[in-house]
Amino acid sequence: MKSGGYIELHAHSNHSLLDGVPFPEDLVARAAAYEMPALALTDHDGLYGAVRFIRAAEAAGIKPILGAELTLTDDSHLTLLAETAEGYANLSHLITLAHLNRPKGVARLEPDLLAGHHCGLIALSGCRHGAVSRALLAGEPRLALDTALQMARIFGPHHYYIELQRHYHPGDAHLVRDLHELALQLGLGVVATGNVHYLEPVQREVHDILTCIQLNASLDQTGDHLRPNDEYRFHSSETMSECFADIPQALTSTVDIAARCASAATFLADGHQILPVFETPNGDSAPVYLRRLCEQALQARYTQRPPRDLLDKELRIINQLELSNYFLIVGDIIHFARSSGIRCQGRGSAANSLVAYLLNISPIDPVATDLVFERFLSAERSKTPDIDIDFAADRREEVIQYVYNRYGRDHAAMACTLVTFRSRSAVRDTARVLGFPPALVERLTDVLNVHNDESVREAEALAASFGAGPGPLEHLLRLAPQLEGLPRHLGIHNGGMILSGPPLDTLIPLEPATMADRTVVQWDKEALEEAGIVKVDILGLRMLSAIEDAVTIAGQLIGTRPDLDALAPDDPEVYAMLCRGETVGVFQVESRAQASLIPNFRPQTFGDLTIEISLIRPGPLQGNMVRPYLRRRQGVEPVRYLHPRLKPALEETLGVIVFQEQVLKVAQDLAGFTPGEGDQLRRALSNKQGEAAVLPFRERFLRGAQELQVPEPIAEKVFEQLVSFGGYSFPKSHAAAFAVLTYQSAWLRRYHPTAFFAGLLRHQPMGFYPVHVVVSEARRYGVEIRGVDLHTSDVGATVEPGNTGKSEDRRVWEPDNQQIPDPGPSKKKGAIRLGLESVRGLGEEASATIVEARRQRPFQSLVDLCQRTGLGRRAVEALIMAGALDRWNRPRRQLLWELQSALEAAAAPPALDLPPRDDPTFTAIPRHERLWLEQTYTGVTAGGHITDLVSSQLREMGATPVADLTHWPDGTQIRVGGVIVARQRPPTANGVAFLAIEDRSGIVNVMLYPEVVQTYRRAVMSRFVLVEGEVRRDGAAMSILGKRVLVLAV
């Protein structure tokens, strides 16, 4: 190995969390600049940055050596380098052991464990915090000798080196001399290292900031924890050679050790599957068993012209990529879920696969939907796939634990995420460390969220007003941006699970997650993908839970459980309902933007739903695809293609790019890309690295188009369209999978509205709107909503027979005896009883206690309730004020008054028979106040609509009910009012804000230009408003362009 005489073997990247500054790539680049042929990465107690390091080193032509600086239980440090694959496995295992049974983020390794896991490792005695150095610094040479001897015995004399570092500390000269003498005495090698924490001296300041953040102290408070100088930088070979000129063997050791260590690239799975081998029933190989399962399903699903060629192609590619096991494992998880009654379906690019469809992983028939398998898998695809599966959110944990239990906790773990500093956190943490007072820290965080001249001036004025000098602010402005993007701490991926055949911790270190019964690997999803390790994303989706509950309730109501999987998505009634804008609660199409789109879009088929879901995404919006599509769909403008070759790819979407797959198809058809290349282009377009990643593809595209005789201007224009479309869009497969849920939820809403809305209410919060909108919508649909009732409510919402006329279904003691207007027998759809858990402050546990106690016998009195449930004052107050005790026909305030006695009696029955007190008598709460209390305590108003609180004001101010707006032509000056249920200011909208305002009769969209938002800012952020504006009609869609926004006081 050619070298300048020194190779750095002890370097920290910023994956030594809050202790290193440079990215792994930066270390590699510096090593390359120094012409070092190898470099070792030795982060603290982890291999978080290993994959990035290895890839960067390979690209730079440098041998990557993996290691770690471990912390032992006596808080000393030990540097370990992986010499062989076995050494790497041992290193990973030791790191896992160090984290095991420790608080998160605190790793400590028992030294005794080194003996059993030393093979293939080269140990260096460590920095000043190494046990040997520490003993010498403490004036205990005997201890230092014994420690070194012990380590030499564990690792072997040729695998243990005394580490020498010169950082111009006071005492360094003596320490190095003593260490050298000790090494000579024991016959051990010496090795010089830099203990690199940053690249340049000036980065030392960032390092100090990180240290203070880690210690949660200011710079002034940190004292000796900060290093005394800036010598912990990446020195060149020349510098180190001068520094250790008196001990040349310390330099040559670095070269020797580097030569002995295998390239860490050989340790990675790198396409080699680590998955466990799926146990097939007859001992068949995975490919054979997979084919058998697919053939069986193919026969069942395709009675005519089964797509055998497609199946063969997919299985061939799957086999080639050695992913048969993967599909079987995922299929098994699906099988477990379904057999356990857990609703689930795959999403994302996996829905492109016929095999996924046949294994019930995906609900989408890729043949019927004309999907592209190569979007998911291809021979050219260098990245491993992962399959995302949505499970009913309330039962997702069962699936995760099934995976842990089936494969063993040593073979299953979650992927991690590395949470990095963003602009706000960087400013906040840096300001705190610099000693700014807390009030000023928060203000500066807000002001410097955007870094420009104006924000800097504002920050300067702010700091001056606090009496802070200019110096600290200068440091803040200079240093905070340098923290952005640096890893801050480890998090857990939402649902990504890794499975392995061999023990996982011999491949990747594990550490415990904050959540109980969870472990995480030290690599995030990007690193796992780079390393060729597949994962399964086990995600939770509340809509699935809501649908499952709705189906169950519907089954109870009609006697037969609807089979949603058997539904053909072609019922015109369902589409008609959607076209009427009745979309609240319907998956993916209830948002304000979708509600604006639907009247013009008017979906009629499943394919339409797929397109509609995909249109309201940044890609089509920024690419200006939405309006052209709508105009063409409405026949207002003709369907045009920039080139005839684009027709096959874009005909489905009327010449407009909507889906990610169309990027592949366009690249194929117009520029001759292979499907795999097309997918690479697609990835580059969505790559966060921006233009640099796209440029090579542009040249390829133009060249390919030229070869196909496509005129260059057209090719350029098409490519620009692809770029502006970007990657922030849905794959068609993903949209199609979502469209299944859209259709199912819409179907339920159309045919089983009571069950549907009950299902939604059971799984709040979810969806676009707050819960009271769901309730209002249910009412508008003719579903009766009944308030929480102590005697009949379950924990969650339930369905009861419709208006029975029974008094207990009405609040007879109300002074105005007002009820919800009877929608008439043709519209009676049953009633939903709100659940106990909807009472704020009660909680699921208390709700379950009530239900359980009530099962034994009904509650007879307040005392009985308090005695048998043990609920405290606040919980019972909440029940009373939510109306849950109204069945007792007592004014709520009377019950509140009596609660004191009830609590006393429940705690200890009265010993004396005291004469009755002269307790006051309370009357019923006025309706207005009752609505407010219901809203406060349950979030909904069972006894009316929330806007009844301002109805008189709306009338006086001449507000038009939302339902009546349909009559008014474009440009009409109008007033509308109600409660704001949604507020958005999308980044793509140039400062325009969108409100959704609801009154009793419906929801209307309001658009506000930036100047209006600024002028009426307070009103825009309040709850009840009146908007003055004009009607805007855009085809069949209607909205209000607001000009004034006024607050309505309650």
Binding site: Y168, P170, P201, E205, L226, N229, G467, W897, S901, P920
Partner: protein, 468 residues
């Protein structure tokens, strides 16, 4: 008999505005008193503008500055506020001594003694306002009612320099529309009453007392009484007795001045003890001697600064006794301490850290003098600080590698025989950066020294901290 409530609203703010020649409503940015925005302290008081922005007394300053970032934040000048308080108190003493200090700028006055002097309520309140304004030109609000809570609410409702008089037997109706939040009730009681729909004092007064007590505890009964205009609490005057007297009869009567002195000193001891126990100080001292012819001889002196110190009182008494002319035997001797003041009014807190070094030293000396005077010489023991020796500037002849070959210190040249160690300090970059290269060296005399090159000033220094 009625009770008068006098309120100087935002007394600290008014005092600060007066110092600055401002009116309260002149403070367009807002004025917050309590310290600088970054002090770990709380708001003492704030002007209405700051209050409208959300600042509140008792709120941490850091939070107050977030509410009103443009406000002026000033440290509290407790001496000035106490002096204002005392001035107002003394002004009220013109009327009666039945005065209860309820807080800074708040007083209750029992008006029973004033009925003859001021037959009409408006006369009384007008005269009171005038007297206070003459003593201290601060805005004042006055309330007059049959009981103290109603008087307080009336005072709060009054406009500046005006009074609200609640006619007899009208307290309950006056209070009825006021919100519950004016009661000294816990937030939990207020919350529960609100849930019950009880939101005014009238509604609360209408509830049965026993039931209220059962529902909310004993405090509720008291609160209901307040709400019903039946506050049972009297005015508890906090004005110190105008004088303390101690009298002794001499048997047999004597002309012996020593005997008189001893008797007077015994009385001084007892009076000093009383002063200390009641936390008062004497501002004046008088002795009265009655001889056998029943002639009264009097002599007096001021006590400055006011004191409760036995020794000082004894010394003053000695002076007085020696001064008084006695021609016939004395049969009665009385020592009178008058006037008195509460001890706390003599307390001063020194804000030393914001002052300059000289000012700090002067303030400290003055504080020590006063402490010694009050408590005696032994009360203060001064510790001295030992500071490390300062580094000394030297000239260095550097070698090729930049390390010193020789140095000149105090005119003498020292050759460097050996350099043991060399290290670098690059510290405190965020404050006062230190950038030094240190050398531990041995000079030709065999002395081991520590020298460093300060990179920022490009000078060499001999660090005399360590001589190893």
């Amino acid at each position: 008999m009625k009770i008068m409530y006098l309120l100087v609203p935002h007394l600290p703010v008014q005092v600060e505005c007066q110092k600055r020649g401002l009116r309260q409503d002149d403070t367009s940015k807002g004025l917050v008193i309590g310290g600088r925005p970054w002090d770990a302290s709380v708001v003492l008081d704030c002007c209405p503008v700051a209050e409208a922005a959300g600042a509140r007394p008792g709120m941490p300053l850091a939070r107050a500055v977030m509410r009103c970032p443009k406000a002026d934040f000033v440290p509290a000048d407790h001496t000035a506020y106490q002096e204002a308080q005392q001035t107002l108190f003394v002004a009220l003493l013109q009327f009666t001594d039945r005065i209860e200090t309820a807080g800074l700028g708040m007083f209750y006055v029992e008006t029973g003694q004033l009925a003859r002097r001021f037959p009409e309520d408006e006369e009384l309140t007008g005269a009171t306002v005038a007297a206070l304004r003459e003593a201290m030109p601060l805005d004042v609000q006055v309330g007059l009612a049959e009981e103290r809570f109603t008087a307080e609410q009336a005072g709060l409702a009054a406009r500046p320099n005006r009074a609200v008089v609640v006619p007899p037997r009208s307290g309950r109706s006056f209070l009825s529309s006021l919100p519950l939040t004016v009661l000294p009730a816990t937030p939990e009681i207020i919350r529960r009453l609100d849930l019950l729909g009880i939101r005014t004092l009238g509604e609360m007064a209408a509830l049965p007392r026993v039931a209220l007590v059962h529902q909310f505890g004993p405090q509720a009964g008291f609160l209901r009484d307040l709400a019903a205009g039946a506050d049972p609490r009297p005015v508890v005057p906090d004005a110190p007795p105008l004088e303390l007297r101690h009298r002794t009869t001499l048997r047999p009567p004597t002309v012996d001045r020593q005997v008189l002195l001893m008797a007077a000193q015994r009385m001084a001891t007892a009076l000093a003890e009383t002063l200390r126990r009641q936390s008062y100080q004497a501002q004046g001292l008088r002795i009265e001697i009655v001889d056998t012819a029943q002639v009264l001889h009097t002599t007096a002196t001021a006590v400055e600064p006011p004191t409760a110190d036995q020794g000082r009182l004894e010394r003053r008494i000695q002076v007085l006794v020696e001064r008084v002319r006695v021609e016939r035997p004395v049969e009665g001797l009385e020592v009178i301490l008058y006037p008195l003041r509460p001890t706390y009014l003599g307390v001063t807190q020194l804000a030393l850290f914001s002052a300059s070094q000289d000012q700090r030293w002067r303030s400290l000396q003055e504080a020590l003098r006063r402490l010694r005077e009050r408590f005696g010489e032994l009360i203060v023991m001064v510790a001295s600080l030992i500071r490390p020796p300062e580094p000394r500037l030297i000239e260095v002849r550097p070698g090729q590698d930049g390390a010193p070959d020789a140095f000149i210190w105090e005119g003498r040249t020292y050759r460097v025989r050996r350099i043991y160690e060399h290290w670098r300090e690059r510290r405190f970059w965020w404050a006062l950066p230190v950038e030094r290269d240190y050398y531990r060296l041995e000079d030709h005399t065999g002395q081991v020294r520590l020298a460093y090159r300060d990179l920022r000033s490009a000078t060499w220094w001999l660090d005399r901290r360590r001589l190893v």
